[in-house]
C-alpha cells in the first residue's frame, strides 16, 4: 500500500531540502553518536535553540480547472515545460507518477492552507489513486489505481464528493519529486473534459528570513561535533517542533553566497551548495556531524562563506526544514581548550 506516495503530495518537491536521494547518504549510527557524545569529553556539542531557527512562510496558489461532472477527464501535461519551482521540466522524462488525492471535507482554500502549514491528517484524505504514465504525457482519471487496484476512481468524479488535487511527480520514491499540481472541479454545467497543466497551475510563494535568527556558534575546524536539538520547541513554520520527525541533518557551505542570497534562492539551497553533507538519523535528538556523508569528510566549520545547518523531515507533508540556521565558526582564543562546550551566543 503506497500510501505515502499518494498522500505526501507535491509539496515534497517544492523545497530543495527534500530533493536529495536518501539512498545517497549513509545512515547515522545513533548509538555511535550517543557514545561519542557521552564518552568523548573533548567532543563539542552544538546545542540548538529556537532563537537560532529561521522563519519560513509559504503560500500555495493552486489553480482550479472546471471539468465535466461524471466524466473521465484527461490530465494533459504535454505542454508543461516548467515546474512549480520554475525549474525546467521535460514532460516525457520528468513525470513518473500522476496522483489524485480527494479531500472529502476540505475546500480548496483549506487544502492550500493545510498544505502550507503542514497540518493535514490522514483522515483528511478521502481517496487517492496514482499511475505511472510511462512515456505518455497524458492520462485519463480512470487509469489511476489504488495500489494497483482498479477502483473505478472516475465514478467518484462528481460534484460534492470533495476537493480533487491532481499532481505530477518525478521519480517513484513515495512522497518525493512532485513537480506540478492543480485542482480538478467536477461541475454539472461544464463540458470540458481535459485538464491541461500549465506553468502557473501551481504558484508557490514563500518568504524566508535568515536575517533575524541568532547564528549558531561552532568551534572552527572541529570535525567531531555533536548537534543536539533536544531544546528546540518551535519549527521554522511556527508549529510545535516534533523532534521525532527529524530524519536527516544537512550541512551546506556556500563560499560566495551571503545569507540574503540564500533567502532569495532558498528553493535551490542544496543545488547551490559548494559543499554538502547529509546524515540520516532515526530517532533521538543528537547526531554526530563527523558521520555525515559528502564528497569529502566533514572538515568542521570555518570562516569561508556561509554555512547552513538544517534538520530535515523527509517524510513530512511540508518538507521545509523544521530547523535551519546559519553557523558561525568560532576560533578558539589562546589557552582555550579546543572542543569545549559551546553555548549559543545571540548575535
Amino acid at each position: 500500500m503506497r500510501l505515502r506516495g499518494a498522500v505526501y503530495l507535491w509539496l515534497l518537491a517544492a523545497i530543495p531540502a527534500c530533493s536529495g536521494d536518501p539512498e545517497d547518504d549513509d545512515t547515522a549510527d545513533d548509538d555511535a553518536a550517543d557514545d561519542d557524545a557521552a564518552d568523548d569529553d573533548v567532543a563539542s556539542t552544538l546545542t540548538l535553540s529556537d532563537s537560532q531557527n529561521y522563519d519560513f512562510e509559504g503560500t500555495l496558489d493552486i489553480r482550479p480547472y472546471d471539468l465535466a461532472d461524471g466524466s473521465d477527464p484527461l490530465f494533459d501535461w504535454s505542454g508543461l515545460d516548467t515546474d512549480l519551482q520554475g525549474h525546467p521540466l521535460d514532460p516525457v522524462t520528468d513525470v513518473d507518477q500522476v496522483t489524485i488525492v480527494v479531500f472529502r471535507y476540505l475546500s480548496e482554500g483549506e487544502v492550500e492552507e493545510k498544505l502550507s502549514s503542514n497540518t493535514l491528517e490522514q483522515v483528511d484524505v478521502g481517496l487517492f489513486a496514482s499511475v505511472d504514465p510511462g512515456d505518455a504525457t497524458s492520462v485519463r482519471l480512470s487509469e489511476l489505481t489504488l495500489m494497483g487496484n482498479d477502483i473505478d476512481v472516475e465514478q467518484y468524479f462528481v460534484e460534492g464528493y470533495g476537493t480533487w488535487l491532481v499532481s505530477l511527480a518525478t521519480g517513484s520514491t513515495p512522497g518525493v519529486g512532485t513537480r506540478m499540481a492543480a485542482f480538478a472541479r467536477p461541475l454539472p454545467s461544464e463540458a470540458e473534459t481535459t485538464l491541461t497543466f500549465a506553468a502557473d497551475s501551481t504558484v508557490l510563494d514563500f518568504t524566508v528570513d535568515l536575517a533575524s535568527l541568532d547564528p549558531l556558534p561552532a568551534p572552527a575546524g572541529v570535525e567531531e561535533l555533536t548537534v543536539d536539538w533536544s531544546g528546540v520547541g518551535t519549527d521554522g513554520l511556527g508549529n510545535a517542533f516534533q523532534a521525532d520527525s527529524i530524519d536527516r541533518v544537512m550541512v551546506g557551505q556556500y563560499t560566495s553566497l551571503a545569507p540574503a542570497d540564500l533567502e532569495e534562492q532558498f528553493l535551490d539551497l542544496e543545488i547551490l551548495a559548494d559543499s554538502l553533507w547529509r546524515l540520516d538519523v532515526s530517532g533521538g535528538t543528537e547526531a554526530a556531524l563527523g558521520q555525515a556523508a559528502g564528497d569529502a569528510p566533514f572538515p568542521g566549520f570555518d570562516s569561508a562563506g556561509t554555512w547552513v545547518l538544517a534538520l530535515q523531515c523527509t517524510t513530512c507533508a511540508n518538507p521545509a526544514p523544521p530547523f535551519l540556521t546559519l553557523v558561525e565558526a568560532q576560533h578558539a582564543a589562546a589557552g582555550e581548550q579546543e572542543g569545549a562546550e559551546v553555548s549559543p551566543v545571540p548575535r
Partner: protein, 491 residues
Amino acid sequence: MSESRTPPLRKPRPQPPRRRPKATARAGSTAALLAALFAAGCGKPPGAEDPDDDTTPPDDDTAPGDDDAAPGVSVSATVSPVIPTVVTAEVSVDGGSAQQAWIEIGPDEGYGRTVPLDVSGPAPWSTWILGLKPSRTWHLRAVAVVEGEERASADQVVETGSPPGTLAGLGLSGSDPAAAHEGFIVTSFMGEPSTAVILDRDAEPVWWYGPGGTELISRAVPSRDGRSILFIRGVLEVPDQAIVRVSFDGADVEATPTPGAHHDFVELPGGTYAALVTDPREVEGKTVDGDRIVEFGPGGEQTAIWSVWDTFEFSEASDHLAGTTWSHANALDYDEDEDAYSVSLLGLDAIVRVDRATGESFRIVGGRLSDFATPGGETRLFENQHQFEIDGDVLRVFDNGTPSSLDSRAREYLLDDSTGTADLVWSYGATPPLYCYNLGDVFRMEDGHTLVNFGVLGQLDEVDEDGEVLWRINLDLGAAFGYTTYLESLP
C-alpha cells in the same frame, strides 16, 4: 547496563493467590491466545499491593552495607538496542535462590509498577519490562524474598529511546480520553515503511518494529506464548510473503515463508499458522485468483483447509477489484472451542464459517448465499466489509460501504440461527461520515466501549454505547492503521 546490590529489607510480604491478568481479544479465537499470553504473568507480583502491608521498606536501615552478613540482591538492566522501550532486567541474589522476586519500576523512586520474576529456575532470573513510554528516564529496582526476608537492590536508572522519525506521528483527541481504555493496542502503521506498533492509552508508541522497505504489514498480533509479536508481511504481487515472529526485545526475528498469503492470519496451538492464500484456478482458459485457507506447520508443511471455489461460484460479473482475488478474502479468525475458522469475503459481501476438520463451510452471513436476513428479508447485511468479530450469536463487522453510501460503519448484528434472522442492534459511524474504502475493523471491549478502526483513513475511535467518541487517534498524513488487537495489559 547498570548493576547494584543491597541488603535485606524486612520480612516477606504475604502471598495471596497469583492474580491472572484479564485479557480481551479481537474475537473468540484470540481470547485463548491472549489468555495464554497473559499467563506469562503481568501486573502486580504476589502481595505487591497489600494494604495492610507493614513491610514497607524502612527509610534508613536498608542502606547498602548495613548488614554484610545478609544475602544481597543485584539487578542489571539493559535497554534493547533494537526496540529501545524494552528493558531486560536480570536479577540474582547471594546464595542463588529466592522464594519470590519482582522488579519495581516507575518514573521516579516511588516506582509504581511491578513486574514479576519467575524464580523457579536457577539464578540469574530475567524478565522483559514492556509498556514503557519512549524517551523517558525510568527508575527500577529488584526485590527478592530471600531466606524469609524481603530484600531490594539499589535504585537503577535507565532511559528509553525514541521512536524512529519514519514512524508516523499521531494526535489524540476525543471527549473524554480519561474514560477510555487503559490497555494497549497492537496494530500496524501501514505506509512506507510499514511498522508493527503497540500504542498505550496515551497514544504513545511503546513498542515498534519494522522490516523496512516497501513490505506491507497488515496484521500484527501477540504470539500465543506471550514472548513475541507476529506479523504478516508482503505484497500480493510478489510471492515471498511470510509471517514474521519478533521477540519483544527484538533480538530474535524468525520468518516463516507463507507464499501467496495476504491480509490476515491466525496462530494455532502448536506453532501452526493459518493464513488467507491466493488460489488460482483455470476458468474458461483464463487464470482467476480466488482464496483459500492454508495452514503452515512448524516443519514447513502446508495443508489446504478450504477454498472459496468449494462454496461459491465464480462469475465474470463478480464486482471485484483488479489486482485482487475475486472473492477478496480479507479477515480470518479461528474459534478454538469449535475448531472452526471464519473468513470475511469482501468480494461476496459475506462472512463464512469453515469447519477445520472437514473443510466444510457453514453459517454464511451476508451476500447472496446468506443463511441470515434482516427482518425485512435483506441479505445484504454489509458491503465491502473488512475485519469482524463473532461473539456467540453476535457479529460485529466493519462495514466499509460503497461509493454510493460514503459512510463506513461498525455494525453489530444479533444472529438467530433458528429463524435465520439478523437484527441490527447497534452501529457507529463517524460524524461527518467517513468513507473508509480500505481496511477497517471493530472490537468490543469488556466495559461496553467499542474500538472502531477506520483503517486507510488513519483514524481509530473508542466510542461508548451511545456512539460518543471518548478517545480518538488520527495518524499524520501518510499512514494507515492495519488491523488492531486490544490488550488490557502487556506481559
